[in-house]
């Protein structure tokens, strides 16, 4: 099958056969998540419906009481909350702790918007990193979704670990009680903040099960960086390294003539993952930008320094350090940093504990994904050495890992020590136990490194708290300065981003540097909003059958540009357009055979010749004079010229792409003039 070259294609479009396609809308974006770093968007592009990430907003869990692994008298004896008038009907559901009110129930999560669009129509889901797939089971298992999910292997493996940990944390502390009364809108209105202001509480859901996780993950198809994936012939999607986490990706979504880049959770810092691929993002019509750093004022290097200094100070004083964290990601960098630091800080004898149901898998997985790592770490594999130094920490017994505080850990436990454990929300997981255990001593310190949760809110149910709290959020994702450089480099025509990025943070309204500054201004979106993407669909690629191509007789109208007329049938299937030779004229058939729709043959009318070229006004006037027209006046207009034949009361309007002869019912004169005009134009 041949391909039409551009000059011929121009002729086809000019002829008007496919002109109507230009009017069709080609891009719409549905925003299903209000959290800019846990995005969930649906893109309707060409004829495909693509979900971009499905992040799960877990900040809703901060409204719930922690789930203690070991019976906590303090938590179980919290007083029930009653209304101002003394009405205590909610005291079973809501408990009061140090002036804050918490829901005493299994924690629930705020799901992406499910009402805005029928999620069963989603064709594919593209995942950019393991933090942005935590809502996947809710989407794939409960919405009628029948499509495919695309993600890289480390994303799937580590995403599985995160889900497994989450399910484990919640399932191992079964809670009989389920609170729903407080969600009643009339009742919620009476509650104190922040419960009163919590949004979409009716859609909050309990955690999924492992069965649902497995089922969801089975729908994932693994992809590699730069791999081109065809979606229904209309769209091609390609994951690119985003530099943020193991296997994290940005996505290019493109048709033949349109390109959308989806940038989510990217980093330009040199940490463990493969560096970000910026070059491939160039020439985008639209760049959707999400997942920027949540702490734009904190530089990760400075924060790592703070982390180390505070850790050392605490341990030197005989205190313990608790680091609430996810089982993968920044923890690898922290362990690497500590590996270099502990000797210089005289901490060689201090034990480091990593407690998570998936601790072992996480530490081991990190060592086997060599191809997804930065260059330095990749080269280590060839030595051969483990890419991450935490292997050595484990070997030398400086770092020990356990699935839970129960079992071996309780035998090995030695203080002072440093414990890395989840969950960063402090609402479930082993961290709850350590908060209860160490919270009363001012020698101990809890150091928050994960930026997803407000540390003050996370600490609220543990008040009063004697232990020191240090907030060192380490977020390696792009900051606004880096975004500005990135946009200058890749120069997209339009930027689309969450509304939070288009204005300074509310607490620092004077910081104009903490927002996206680009031209044209970025288009913003918010939860439950639909956005028409600002690109114009101008061209469509059409293939032409060889035998039809053979029959064309191009005529060069100017150097390098040839035109040919073509009569053909446009065959469109699977978003591919093919020009086929027109069927031979139908032989008259007798009989009773019924005419079928597919036998329809387009009428092949005799075509008028096509015209090209321009009319030189001076010569045209001379020609008119030669043909006996006198009293000719020429006026210049914005678009061309008007030739006035005053005597004949006729007006010839010559413009770039049209010529009109306006005369008063004198058809003879019009035809004469038309022929004179045609003399100056080429026909084919």
């Amino acid at each position: 099958m041949g391909t039409i070259d551009s000059s011929i294609l121009w002729a086809l479009l000019f002829k008007g056969g496919f002109y109507g396609m230009r009017k069709r809308e080609v891009g719409e974006k549905y925003c299903l998540s209000g959290h800019p770093t846990l995005p969930c968007n649906v893109l309707k592009f060409k004829s495909t419906t693509i979900m971009l990430d499905c992040g799960l907003d877990m900040t809703s869990t901060l409204n719930f009481l922690p789930l203690p692994l070991v019976q906590s008298p303090r938590l179980s004896n919290l007083p029930g909350w009653s209304l101002k008038d003394g009405n205590a009907f909610l005291d079973k559901e809501l408990k009061e702790c140090s002036g804050h009110v918490f829901v005493d129930s299994v924690p629930e999560f705020c799901l992406p918007e499910t009402e805005l669009i029928d999620l069963s129509t989603v064709d594919v889901i593209l995942i950019s990193n393991y933090h942005c797939m935590m809502a996947l089971p809710y989407i794939t298992e409960h919405t009628g979704f029948t499509g495919t999910v695309y993600a890289t292997e480390p994303t799937v493996q580590i995403g599985r670990l995160l889900m497994e940990e989450l399910v484990n944390f919640i399932e191992r502390v079964p809670k009989a009680q389920s609170a729903s009364l407080w969600k009643n809108k009339d009742i919620q209105r009476l509650l104190p903040s922040p419960l009163k202001d919590a949004v979409e509480v009716s859609t909050w859901r309990r955690c999924y099960t492992m069965q649902e996780v497995n089922s969801a993950l089975s729908k994932i198809q693994l992809v590699g960086y730069s791999q081109k994936i065809e979606l229904f012939g209309a769209v091609q999607v390609t994951p690119l390294s985003s530099g943020y986490a193991l296997g994290s990706s940005n996505w290019i979504i493109q048709s033949h003539y349109e390109k959308v880049s989806y940038v989510s959770g990217s980093s330009l810092l040199t940490t463990h993952p493969q560096p970000m691929d910026q070059a491939s993002l160039k020439n985008s019509d639209v760049l959707i930008l999400t997942g920027l750093t949540q702490i734009p004022t904190a530089n990760p290097d400075g924060m790592v320094g703070e982390f180390c200094s505070n850790l050392a100070l605490t341990v030197r004083n005989g205190g313990n350090v608790l680091v609430p964290c996810y089982p993968s990601g920044v923890i690898y960098d922290l362990l690497e940093c500590l590996y270099q630091y502990i000797d210089s800080a005289g901490l060689s004898s201090i034990p480091f504990y990593f407690i998570s149901p998936v601790a072992n898998s996480s530490l081991e997985f990190s060592q086997i994904f060599a191809e997804w790592l930065c260059h330095n770490k990749q080269t280590k594999v060839y030595l051969p050495e483990p890419p991450f130094p935490h292997a050595e920490l484990i070997q030398t017994n400086k770092l020990k890992h356990y699935p839970s505080i129960h079992g071996d850990f309780s035998n090995d436990f030695r203080q002072p020590c440093v414990v890395f454990t989840g969950h960063p929300s402090l609402r479930f997981g082993d961290v709850v136990h350590f908060m209860e255990l160490w919270g009363k001593s001012s020698l101990n310190t809890v150091i928050f490194t994960e930026p997803d949760f407000s540390y003050l809110e996370a600490l609220a149910p543990y008040q009063p708290l004697a232990m020191k709290c240090i907030y060192c959020p380490i977020d390696t994702r792009l900051n606004f300065i880096q975004v500005s450089k990135l946009l200058k480099e890749v120069q997209p025509l339009h930027v689309v981003c969450p509304e939070q990025y288009t204005q300074p943070p509310p607490a620092q309204s004077h910081r104009m540097d903490l927002m996206i500054d680009c031209q044209p201004p970025a288009m913003s979106y918010r939860r439950a909003e639909v956005l028409a993407l600002p690109f114009k669909r101008r061209y469509e690629k059409i293939e032409i059958m060889p035998e039809l191509a053979d029959s064309l007789v191009p005529m060069e109208i100017k150097p390098g540009v040839s035109l040919a007329t073509v009569s053909a049938v446009l065959h469109t299937k699977d978003n591919k357009h093919v020009l086929q030779p027109p069927p031979r004229p139908a032989q008259p058939t007798g009989g009773k055979k019924r005419k079928r729709a597919s036998d329809d043959i387009p009428d092949c009318k005799v075509l008028k010749p096509l015209l090209s070229g321009s009319i030189p006004v001076e010569q045209f006037v001379q020609t008119l004079e030669k043909h006996g027209f006198s009293d000719i006046k020429v006026e210049d207009t914005a678009k061309g010229h008007i030739v006035l034949l005053q005597e004949a009361e006729t007006l010839i309007q010559i413009e770039e792409d049209s010529t009109h002869i306006i005369c008063d019912n004198d058809e003879m004169l019009r035809v004469r003039l038309r022929d004179l005009v045609l003399k100056f134009l080429q026909k084919f």
Binding site: A298, E306, C308, S309, G346, C472
Partner: protein
Amino acid sequence: MDPECSRLLPALCAVLADPRQPVADDTCLEKLLDWFTTVTEAGSSLLLLQENPCLVELLFHVLKSQDLSSRILSFSLRLAGIFAAQENCFQYLQQGELLPTLFGEAGPLGGAAWTAPTVRSGWVQGLRTLARHPSALRFLAARGAVDTIFSLQGDSSLFVASAAGQLLVHILDLAMRGTAEGRCGPQACDWPACAQKVVCHIEDSLCSTATPQVTQALNVLTTVFGHCHGLWTQGLWVRLSPLVARLLEKDPVPASHSLVDLLLSVARSSVLSSDHGLWETLAQTLSHLSPTQAGPLALGILELQDCPQALRTQAFGLLLQPLACVLEAAAQAPGPPGLLEGAAGDSMTVDTLLSSRSACVGLLCCALAHLGLLQPLPQRPSPWPQVPLLGAVVTVLRLCSGSAAPTSDVGGRLCAILVGCGRVQRAALDFLGALSQGTSPQELVTQVFSILLEYLMSPESSSMVLKKAFQATLRWLLRSPKSPGCCDLDPHTQLFLRELLPVLQKRLCSPCWEVRDSGLEFLTQMTRHWGGQAGFRQALLASEVPELTMQLLRDPESYVRASAVTATGQLSSWGLRATPASPERPGAEQESLLGELLRILSTDSEGFPRRAAMQVFTEWLRDGHADVAEDPERFVAGVLQAASRDLDWEVRAQGLELALVFLEQLLGQRGSRCPYAVGLPETAPPGMPAQALQVLCRVQLFEFAFRALFDCDRPVARKSCDLLLFLRAKAAPCGSPQEAGDSPTAASAEAMLQRWQAGEQGQPLGYLEPGAVVAVLRSVDLEGLRDTLAESSDHVEKSPQSLLQDMLAAVGVLGENEADCY
């Protein structure tokens, strides 16, 4: 000339003239030229050429040969210039048509060799050297050389272009010195032809539309007014100043940097500074140039000793403008007049500040640096606006840290530009430190300490910013007035210290070694000044800083270990020891600091910590540190033993310093530190008691000093020689040399010393009896050694004869290898 050199010269000239012989490197040729310069300065060049005809032959040969290297060609041009600097020799070479050919069209100037920058450079330098007399001027004028020099001003090689400019200045000066007392009016007719030509060229260049030509002219004039102080320069300025002033009418002003340099050069010239027109031009220039361009001019004007007050006010206003804009932009509400009445909000400065990040950062950094330079000068403007300046710099620092919340648009944009800008932070902290010298109201001082604390605490502060913040903090702390009638720190400082020490504590735990290092340096300085203040001692001992400092003695980074050694040494000198480690902390055994520092001196793999340890020991010994005072003999013996084996010469040299301190204390002779005085019998101090000599023998000071005497590093050997001379003078009365010299110990020691001198230093000297020591001291030719050591190490190799031999040996002309070994 040395006859031996005369003998070698023909062979050398033959080598130089032979294109097949590879010439030694450029350094040899440079040394050769230096030697010829010395020879011609000492005697007649003409005689030299007549006695050594090979030199003229070489120059002739160079002219004929086509394939000589450009280096030799350049060398020959410069050599000819050296000879022709004397007028009679010049005429001698002129007669032979050598000079016109060498420097004229027939020489390299017209040939392919001219493309080599080194040849062009040799040509310019040759002429520069020969232009010493009127004949040379005539030569230059007649041969059209001046035109060539004009064109070389724009040479692609910066060295050639710069040398050409300097040559023009030299020619002008030479020409004008010939006029009657150097007086010349601005009229052209008064000027000698050669000078007239140069000046006309400068005038043309000043009127040129091409900026490079204007720059060249301005640079030449800057050198003229900077180096020539004849009265003729007045006439030159009167003639050229209108053209210079006309440059200001152009927009943008061309070559503004060079223009500023010129104007400052004129203003500094003693001949011209009384010119009123000059001050007007300076004032005009200040107002025409952009704020960034005018900054250096404003600073230069304010540095002048005598300058009209109005101009000083204008210049100071210009320097203050950027900070005035910052103050105004960041003001929450219209307040009292800020830094500058009238100048604040100058639109040009505001435009520059907001035009781009780089322009804003550049302007602010320059303004801060210029004001910082001005601050300590006696001629700085008075009254000095200490309070608004302090307010402005605090505001800049707040904008940079993001803690300022300006309400105005300009303030908002400044904030967006400056936030996180390390360059401005560093410049502002430097200036803030400089401002500690003035008197400031307590309210503002509190703000200063508050912003310093913010920077010291912020995780966003880079290591360089932290270093500057520590330095500024120290300067502000040390300026703190003491409470009246009390020798302790004032309450504000004590309050600040209480907040500062936890921050310092955290910084000492930083994973970034530069930060730990800066923290330790800060601690050392603070302790040095405040070690005796009860308030400081109390706060410090209540913190963990002393203990952390002890731990940093084992830091993996050698610079940090060195700083920790100095800091612990300083803390210990003031009795500020770390509190004993808590029993439950494993591995933190409390050992004596002396032992720890000795361990560092003996085992540390890096030189810096060992040097620091030696300095601490020397200080301890000098100040009578308690640990040392217990048993100084043992202390000195241990330290010297460790230092004698050290591979770092600075450690060994410091060992000698410690030995000298010990000697002084032993002999009770403080202040007689000048070892050169000891050689004179009439000034010799009283003799050394035998007891003292025995002590010195016991601590093996002599073994250390003798070993150092033959040290391969000259500074160590010189120091040791001085020490031993001092000792010999002191030990003179201790015994008759005859008796001691015959003793077997002395004989074996001398033999050992001879072996040491020959480089075999493996064996120890062993214990020496005082008598033997005295004998050995007498037998060693210390004066001779001192003289030898005083010569530079290459004094033999530097002789001209050696140079000529080397050059010949390098090409194998000498039959045997007589070259010096380097």
